[in-house]
């Protein structure tokens, strides 16, 4: 799914004392099948931005285009987009309401008017895609699962819609390192199958090895955007706490005069880089 914005501006409560410019003139274009990370301090406009991609919010000025079609007040067009693009909110398990995992995951699909056999098939496929065994989990209460399992069920509940794009707002919050790894594997799998994936996260390190693009916002404006290495280089100057931990270690080494690259964000790559510096003669 091609996602574009042109000079997108969003103002909350315009003309009141609480007026707040949440986004100012954002222009971006993400190709179908991209994996995009959005980061930035609290209040930078990340959540506001993603709510424009399925028309939950409409621009104060500027445009949002999905596959070339502008999102506006046309209800039918919004409905079509929402069938293709799913949004996973922060702490999505707070929206659980069903008695069983099956009913939770089946809810959206059942509203599409599919046969119950087809709904059941899609629920089974969806649970297996997130790594939860269908027979073991279908009858359990979604409220009695671990935090990591709940997050996976919440994401699984969108998959029966057979979406083309998935946007997740802080999907790793509250998950342990095992849960974060499992989530990264799931997102990698969705992307392999051609889905466009957009993730808002404070912790770039959790998903950086999957990303094609990073968008870093601050107070509604773009600080850095584009391919991973370039954005990390920019963040190393003034936004150090946002760097993935591996990149931060490399940056600290460079500060001490070590001849290593800072464009490294995976453990294995850091090992190689450090071993070759250690064995070499320079710096």
């Amino acid at each position: 799914m091609l996602i574009e914005t042109e000079r997108l501006t969003h103002i909350y409560s315009p003309g009141t004392p609480w007026e707040c410019w949440a986004l100012e003139g954002i222009t971006l274009s993400w190709k179908p099948g991209s994996f995009v990370l959005i980061a930035g301090p609290s209040g930078s406009g990340k959540s506001t931005l993603i709510q424009h991609f399925n028309g939950l919010l409409l621009p104060s000025s500027g445009r949002v285009l999905i596959d070339g079609e502008e999102l506006g007040s046309d209800k039918a067009a919004l409905g079509r987009i929402r069938r293709r693009l799913g949004l996973v909110f922060q702490i999505p398990e707070q929206q659980f309401f069903a008695e069983t995992v099956f009913d939770e995951v089946a809810f959206a699909a059942a509203n599409l008017g599919l046969s119950s056999a087809e709904v059941a098939r899609r629920v089974k496929v969806s649970l297996e895609r997130v790594g939860l065994d269908y027979e073991q989990f279908r009858g359990r209460s979604p409220f009695n699962l671990s935090a990591g399992q709940q997050r996976l069920v919440a994401i699984a509940s969108l998959l029966p819609l057979e979406l083309e794009a998935l946007i997740l707002d802080e999907p790793a919050a509250g998950l342990d390192s095992g849960g974060r790894r499992q989530l990264a594997l799931l997102l990698a799998d969705l992307r392999r199958q051609g889905m466009t994936v957009i993730v808002v996260s404070h912790h770039l390190g959790d998903f950086i090895s999957l990303a094609d693009q990073i968008l870093f916002l601050e107070r509604g404006r773009v600080v850095a955007a584009g391919e991973v290495e370039g954005v990390l280089r920019r963040l190393a100057q003034g936004y150090e706490p946002y760097l993935p931990p591996v990149t931060d270690i490399m940056r600290r080494l460079v500060l001490r005069g070590a001849g290593v690259s800072t464009a490294v964000f995976e453990l294995a790559a850091a090992r190689e880089e450090i071993v070759s510096w250690w064995g070499g003669n320079s710096g």
């Binding site: 671990s146 095992g178 931060d248 003669n281």
Partner: protein
């Protein structure tokens, strides 16, 4: 300060589910900063809730400054000793302004209004949020809400803070600020700080780390011990801090790094110090 003896807890004592806490014997000392780590569902929050009596043991006993949480008449005084900061601050914000929010707990204990005023002002000063006194809490940012929650807790002048993932959902700057704030309150006021965290980089800053796995304490010691015991952490499904993981990989490559590296700067310092000059 805090003590458990043979603590077992089940959410369904009649059976059917395994124990959420399965035999915990623990002593937390006054003024200590302890981080509780462990995979999801290992019992971290369940354990924390036992220390201010939100949950009571199925078997065994929990003592807070010598008072047992199994005796309901002791609970009010236990809750003044141990204040809790929950995972999601939205779940504990009730008032229409920040100062009313912070006064709420004290009002429930029928503290003298003048004294309430003093303690609320003191707590807002400590957290640098005096300028937000008349602000509606639900309009604050996530980081500010956390500070209000911490201010409400310390306004009660507790001896112990129980913090359940206080920095999840915060951006890295606010996370670091909150962490430094908790740490300085702990030192300055001599508070006992018990903190659940999923980020082992954060646990690296504590005096002591407890690893919970399936309701049992499987490691207990200073961060440089627990966070470098990668075998045990991996067995629990966790990865350690990036510095500890990378140091282990580099040692496998024959780099003679010292034991106990858990923070980024420690790794960098060791590497630069020990690198053979060419």
């Amino acid at each position: 300060m805090l003590k458990t003896r043979g603590l077992y807890f089940s959410y369904r004592p009649e059976g059917g589910t395994p124990f959420a806490l399965a035999g915990i014997d623990l002593e937390i000392y006054r003024g200590q900063h302890t981080a509780i780590i462990g995979p999801s569902g290992s019992g971290k929050t369940t354990l924390l809730k036992h220390f201010n009596g939100l949950l009571g043991p199925t078997r065994g006993e929990v003592l807070v400054s010598g008072r047992t949480t199994s005796c309901t008449s002791q609970l009010p005084s236990i809750r003044r000793i141990c204040a809790m900061i929950f995972q999601n601050p939205d779940n504990q914000l009730v008032a229409t302004t920040v100062e009313e929010e912070i006064a709420f707990g004290l009002e429930n204990y029928r503290v003298d209004p003048k004294k309430i005023r003093e303690q609320v002002d003191w707590a807002m000063g400590k957290l640098n949020i005096s300028h937000l006194a008349a602000y509606p809490p639900h309009l604050l940012s996530g980081g500010q809400k956390r500070k209000v929650a911490v201010a409400s807790a310390i306004a009660m002048q507790p001896q112990c803070l129980l913090a359940d993932e206080p920095s999840s959902m915060l951006d890295p700057d606010s996370r670091r600020e909150l962490q430094e704030l908790l740490r300085s309150l702990q030192r300055e006021l001599g508070l006992t700080l018990l903190q659940v965290t999923h980020y082992l980089e954060e646990a690296a800053l504590a005096d002591r780390v407890l690893l919970l796995d399936r309701g049992r304490v499987t490691a207990d010691g200073p961060p440089e011990k627990v966070l470098t015991d990668l075998g045990r952490l991996h067995a629990a499904g966790l990865t350690s801090s990036t510095a500890a993981e990378l140091a282990a990989l580099l040692r496998e490559e024959g780099l003679a790094l010292p034991a106990g590296i858990v923070q980024n700067q420690e790794l960098v310092d060791s590497l630069c110090l020990l690198k053979p000059s060419g």
